[in-house]
């Protein structure tokens, strides 16, 4: 493994030396990649980690020769693939290399696959373009590859179009396409970020196994420290286009040398639930009983298809408490949140907000209850109206309920101070803020209504870990100060462990398990919850304390069923 550190090029499959990528036409333009050097050896996995905008993806695109022309250009340094200089390679040579020597898999396989061509033809195209195999030989190889990526029912899957497959299956097809010509280098750009944890675990295992069999060098790009702990041999930490630190996995996790690495690792929330908070028995502010949401596909002929997005969900949220709803995509957790907000109409059940049932109130009758429950959305880039100033955005709610505009704007300034933003932000527009700051604005907007309940739908999922921990701290502090009840929807068990008092685990629209976070996340009773916990990447490592998780702190006792 240490041979990767030498720059002699012999053992290195990929050697990047002093690479500089600049923005724009001029050589002295802003440097997006600033003098980085990376080496990946045969059979080695190098994880490139960093927050958004750190230049991870630009690095991988420079290697593949896929940088947008005339916008980003490599201006200095060298990229060598098995000794061959890629910066000097012609477009034609690069095209050839891209299939035979290096391959790439992306975050969203749906956009990387052609939606109108069956997947078999897409894999076949790769073989046809770069080999002279006969049709029979190509078919044989495709089938062998499909076995290797462990896809079941190969003939059916090969005949399918991408949209007929699940996210995990699509990613397996992408991996099959990438590895079918047995390339020396595989670049994986956040390949599991869009997948559920259980699928992520399988894909990571698959990449690891295939790498071992083929001896492929893997450049793995991710922002998730958990994934790093699962798959990396060595780690390179990037920030602002520079390599901050490179080292073997264990030494980075155990004794990071640089402040930035330490900060990044400490920001990773622990899977060990935080100590339970002492709570006096406070009254329930939100009481949901038997909530269901059924979608009917109205068909003109034949029977209508009925899909239950949520089925008989009951929950209770007390003042000052945080209740987490966790589950994978499609589990119905967002449906429940949106029903409670009455953004969609529930099909059945009761939603009692401070004693009054709001589940079937008309638009007008509902309006007075609106201010008692507010929501924070996942994507801070879309949840603020880009054409309204921050002040107007925050003041909108109170003005709706009759507060004079001047008073509402004054209150907006106070709220901005509460969420740690400068008060002169009122006159600015959302695009002038970063993702984390926008999420703070969204929180201020929700608080402007002085609600009893705050619903946070994946409110920190789109943020970088360091920003994530700041926003979580902010929510915690606001809750302490104002006694707000928080309904926190997340797919991330780490986040849930750090913020929730109680947890509800959902699967396919049904509640699987519910109870205190400390119990559910350490001694799950249901197999599904156990599977979720076991799939959480890097669960054996306590990132913030730079050591393995202490024995017994997170024990999963044998199932009691």
């Amino acid at each position: 493994m240490s041979n990767g550190l030498t720059a002699d090029g012999a053992a290195n499959v990929l050697a990047i030396d002093n690479l500089v990528v600049t923005l724009g036409q001029r050589d002295d333009g802003p440097r997006i990649i600033d003098d980085i050097s990376l080496h990946v050896g045969e059979g080695e996995t190098l994880c490139l980690v960093g927050e958004s905008g750190s230049g991870k993806s630009v690095t991988s695109l420079s290697v593949m020769g896929l940088l947008p022309k005339r916008v980003l250009r490599p201006t200095a340094g060298s990229i060598r693939l098995v000794g061959e200089e890629l910066r000097a390679a012609s477009d034609r040579r690069l095209r050839e290399l891209r299939a035979t020597r290096m391959a790439m898999i992306f975050q969203e396989p749906m956009t990387a696959l052609n939606p109108v061509v069956p997947v078999a033809r897409q894999i076949d195209e790769v073989l046809r373009a770069h080999t002279k195999y006969s049709a029979e030989e190509r078919r044989r190889r495709i089938h062998a590859m499909m076995e290797q990526v462990r896809l079941p029912d190969v003939p059916r899957i090969l005949a399918s179009y991408p949209h007929q497959l699940s996210g995990g299956q699509r990613q397996r097809i992408m991996i099959a396409m990438a590895l079918i010509l047995d390339p020396k280098l595989l670049i994986a750009d956040e390949p599991t970020t869009a997948l559920d944890v259980t699928t992520q675990q399988q894909i990571l295992a698959l990449i690891r196994d295939l790498q071992r069999e083929h001896g492929t060098a893997v450049l793995f790009i991710t922002h998730d420290m958990g994934v790093v702990a699962e798959i990396a041999d060595r780690v390179a930490v990037m920030r602002n286009g520079r390599i901050v630190e490179t080292g073997a996995l264990k030494s980075i996790l155990r004794s990071p040398q640089e402040d930035y690495t330490r900060k990044l690792l400490s920001a990773v929330p622990s899977l060990i639930p935080r100590p339970a908070r002492a709570h006096e028995a406070s009254p329930a502010v939100l009481d949901v009983e038997g909530l269901s949401k059924v979608y009917r596909d109205r068909a003109m002929f034949g029977r209508a298809r009925v899909v239950a997005a949520a089925e008989a969900v009951s929950l209770q949220l007390r003042k000052g408490h945080t209740l987490g709803i966790v589950g994978e995509s499609g589990s119905g957790k967002s449906t429940v949140a949106r029903c409670i907000m009455r953004l969609i109409e529930p099909s059945a059940g009761q939603i009692r907000l401070g004693g009054s049932d709001i589940s079937f109130l008309s638009r007008r009758r509902l309006r007075p209850h609106r201010k008692r429950i507010q929501m924070i959305f996942q994507d801070p880039y879309r949840s603020l109206n880009p054409r309204m100033t921050v002040g107007e955005t925050i003041a909108e709610g109170p003005v709706n309920f009759g507060m004079p505009r001047a008073d509402a704007l004054k209150q907006a300034k106070d709220l901005l101070r509460l969420v740690d933003l400068p008060t002169d932000s009122v006159a600015r527009y959302p695009h002038q803020f970063s993702g984390g700051q926008r999420q703070r604005i969204a929180i201020a907007r929700a608080l402007a209504m002085n609600p009893d309940v705050l619903v946070a739908d994946e409110a920190v999922s789109a943020l970088d870990v360091s920003v994530q921990s700041q926003v979580l701290d902010l929510l915690d502090e606001i809750q302490k100060r104002l006694g707000i009840a928080l309904l926190f929807i997340t797919h991330d068990l780490r986040v849930a462990a750090q913020i929730c008092d109680e947890v509800i685990v959902m699967q396919n629209g049904k509640v699987v398990e519910q109870g205190p976070a400390a119990t559910i996340l350490t001694q799950p009773r249901m197999p599904y919850t156990r599977a979720l916990l076991e799939a959480a990447p890097g669960r054996d490592w306590d990132f913030a304390n730079f050591c393995p998780v202490a024995q017994g702190a997170l024990r999963l006792e044998p199932s009691q069923i």
Binding site: S434, G435, Q470
Partner: protein, 295 residues
């Protein structure tokens, strides 16, 4: 906070530049803007620039070639071609601008309602489908035949078939925008429906509407000219580009400039407006901008 600055600059769109900066973005667009400006100026200043009354007939001076007194000569009734062309520009531009503004205002209102209220959508869109099925020129001829040839009737006849296009455009924008989380946040804050339409949804339609407006304007000018040429437009003694060309048709062999002069101005005006519309679309649609910068 220090860490936040990393992601701060990612997707900050370009702002602060003048909205109309695109008018001088390339030599062709600048040329088109200049041409349109000249046509507009000549129409506005027609009373000052015209050497004669455009309606005044001098039977002794029929079909005269250009002279010092009549720079472009005269038509079959002895009227000054230059004066008639300048005044004709007024009608054309008035029709173009009027059609664009009125069809957008009406279409915007109908489109907003149709996009936001499901119950209204089905009814409105079927009516619009019906309107779109009627051939524009035929409808215009029918309207003019029913209520007589005047500026208003011609304007109405031109606007009616344009409205469904605007409605469809606005509706599609609203359908996408209403799914945005900021609209849901507004609903959660108890914002009233008219206010949501006005503050959160309508601003999204402005950019595509400016573009659509230029196309409506160009096609309205063209339709008016066609109607006049066919004799179904504004009464023949009124100088419009279509009318001048219609009258010139019978004497084309003797005096082709009767068709060429207004025809040339018509082409220039429409070409300029369409070019400016394309430039506006490129400037206002971020996707087009990306494509330009991309590969």
């Amino acid at each position: 906070m220090a860490l936040e600055s990393i992601s701060a600059t990612d997707t900050v769109p370009m702002r602060g530049k003048s909205v109309f900066g695109f008018l001088i973005s390339s030599p062709i667009i600048a040329g088109a803007s200049l041409c349109l400006l000249l046509v507009i100026a000549s129409a506005i200043l027609a009373p000052l620039l015209s050497p004669h009354n455009p309606m005044e007939m001098v039977p002794a001076l029929r079909l005269k070639p250009p002279s010092a007194d009549y720079p472009l000569g005269t038509d079959a009734f002895g009227r000054d071609l230059l004066s008639r062309t300048l005044y004709g520009g007024r009608i054309s531009l008035l029709i173009g601008l009027g059609a664009a503004i009125i069809s957008i205002v009406i279409g915007l209102a109908i489109g907003l309602v149709s996009g936001f209220f499901r119950w209204a959508d089905a009814i409105i869109m079927r009516v619009m489908d019906g309107l779109m099925a009627i051939p524009a020129i035929l409808l215009a001829i029918a309207v003019v035949a029913l209520s007589g040839a005047s500026l208003q009737t011609v304007l109405i006849a031109i606007i009616i078939p344009e409205i469904p296009r605007v409605v469809r455009l606005v509706r599609s924008v609203v359908l996408t925008a209403r799914e945005e989380p900021y609209v849901e946040a507004a609903i959660a804050m108890g914002t009233s429906l008219p206010k949501i339409l006005w503050r959160h949804l309508m601003p999204n339609t402005f950019a595509p509407l400016i573009v659509q407006g230029t196309y409506v304007c160009a096609s309205a000018i063209l339709t008016e000219a066609i109607l006049s040429f066919l004799g179904a437009g504004i009464s023949p003694e009124t100088p419009t580009w279509g009318n001048i060309m219609a009258e010139g048709r019978s004497v084309f062999v003797i005096k082709p400039s009767l068709i060429f002069v207004p025809g040339f101005l018509l082409s220039i005006a429409i070409l300029s407006i369409n070019l400016i519309g394309d430039a506006a679309r490129d400037a206002l649609d971020p996707r087009m901008k990306q494509r330009e910068g991309g590969r």
